[in-house]
Amino acid sequence: MLIKTSRREWLRSAAYGVGGFAVSGMMPGGGWFGAPDANAAAFVDPLAPKQPHFPAKVKSVIWLHLDGAPSTLDLYDYKPELERLAGQDIPASFLEGVKTSTQGGVGKLFATKRTWKQYGQSGAWFSDLLPNLAQQADRLTFVKSSVTVGATHDISILKLNTGDLSPGRPSLGAWVAYALGSANPDLPPYVVLYGGQREPRAGSVNWSSGFLPAVYQGTAFRPGPQPILHQAPPELIGLKQQRESLDLLHQLNEIRSATRPDDSELAARTNSYDLAYRMEATAPEAVDLSKETEATKALYGLDDEATRDMGTVLLRARRLVERNVRFVHVVSGPISGLGQADDASWDAHRQLERNHSAHARAIDKPVAGLLADLQSRGLLDDTLIVWTSEFGRTPYGQSGDGRDHNPWGYTQWLAGGGLKHGVTYGRTDDLGLKTIENPVDTYDLHATVLQLLGLDHLKTIYLRAGRAERPTVVYGKVVNDILA
């Protein structure tokens, strides 16, 4: 077979060794390169804990993705001018610099029947859709100047999670697992939880390890008592019998390893068997809510049909960060009564009132409960909670009673350790269409999350094909103004 190699590729390969060696000191723990020379005796557990670049402010992240993109104009970003001009065409000056290519066109300005109030010492605005979260106002750090590229949900969700518009790059959680390793050898460092009964529509590419080794990908925990498929041993095999089988396998592998010291795969496989065995007990326990008190369950809304799904997910998230899982990636679930596919998510192109009332009700109490619970357990200072979405929604209407996608200006918030609380960073114009101060792109959010975990996004690198790849692609700046 003829393998064609361009001069450029050859030069890259030649430079790989020299360049790779030179940059190894930039990674926590001294560096890690895609395919290092290794042998069984020198096998290094890829999930072994690694030191951050500088002292971390938080140990864990709960990355809460509101799937379908809520209208933050109807939750946090109060715009009296929108109410005043509702029913009129959007003034042309507001559309300058934006390119709309919508199915429904640019409709009249649309205001929902919200009532707004300021909460806490900070005076943060909340609509009547989030009465419980409003009580946590002073624990939140708002970014009201979020921007992204808004083509379609799947593409923008990919950018939200991986920093790129095409599949292939690692998700933020995978970078965290790669850079910091695992803080609990009995659980994966990166876990995905989702509302509803099925995996989110955008799929596992959003928690992929991309070009990083597969060991760093997110592990999706399914709803129900057995979170990992095929994890429980068959009924006819007892734990003792299984342990004995693994011990025998281990002994045989050691004999084999002694004659083949270069075989790192064998050591890795033995390691995987042991992790899987340990997880048979630890993973179900980590998400078992039976020992939680009734008061805790009620705090998350498990006693109410409307909030039970997301309450269960977020209570599981708390249990995972309590067990030192580094990155918990939560995706909000569909609400079946709202319709099929996109209509069931936050994607309110029509009937926004009905859609957002149901979704806000489903998340409001659970997310407020999560913040209060983490605080009461002393975990909030060690945890970062990020409310994100792939984009926001437009102030102009669509279909008469819905809103279109808005990548130009929307609100996200952070809570937890290392932040200035009760502050708002950036702002949108008077109608909430475009960011007019301090834009924060997904890369900037990623850089800030990594910073709080003690990682310099410019130095968190992985050498691939002679290039030093980093989580923020070639962009990203830490939003220092929101850091304590």
Binding site: R8, L11, R12, A15, Y16, V18, G19, G20, A22, V23, E96, G97, V98, K99, T100, S101, T102, Q103, Q118, S122, G123, A124, W125, V147, T148, V149, G150, A151, T152, F391, T394, D404, H405, N406, P407, W408, G422, V423, T424, Y425, R427, T435, I436, E437, N438, P439, L458, I461, L463, G466, R467, A468, R470, V473, V474, Y475, K477, N480, D481, I482
Partner: protein, 142 residues
């Protein structure tokens, strides 16, 4: 009143992004009348790919690849400068020149072996590209 946090560190990058934001507000009324369909799309795709290789090649201390990237980018900035000069768009011409200057900085620093400084210039070049795209390639919704 709700507390608000303003950026207090006027780095070059901040300057570029703020300038871009102002430029969007000032320049876009004319954009509607500006036909950019004769811009070489293939070249732009190549530039967008290359700018994503540029800093990673530099950080990996792959001098030869970085210089090859620089060559592609310099060609692109020159083409863009000429293109917008013919259209009478002085802001885009100035941005293109900024880009060329930064890429030239990168090459100088790579030749000196100062890869950290080169990577910093490459990051600024990325921002320069973005600042022009904010005006002439507005972000698309749907």
């Amino acid at each position: 009143m709700q507390k608000s946090v303003m950026s207090r560190t006027p780095t070059y990058r901040n300057f570029v992004s703020r300038s871009a934001l102002c430029a969007v507000l000032v320049a876009t009324p004319a954009l509607a009348a500006l036909d950019l369909r004769d811009y070489d799309d293939d070249l732009m795709r190549d530039l967008e790919k290359t700018i994503k290789y540029f800093e990673p090649d530099i950080t990996a201390r792959n001098a030869q690849a970085a210089k090859e990237d620089a060559e592609v980018l310099l060609d692109g900035f020159r083409y863009t400068e000429d293109y917008f000069a013919k259209k009478g768009k002085d802001d885009a011409v100035a941005i293109s020149r900024d880009g060329s200057r930064l890429v030239a900085d990168v090459v100088q620093n790579v030749e000196k072996g100062d890869f950290d400084a080169a990577a910093a210039s490459a990051r600024e070049a990325t921002q320069v590209c973005k600042s022009c795209h904010e005006i002439y390639k507005p972000r698309l919704a749907r």
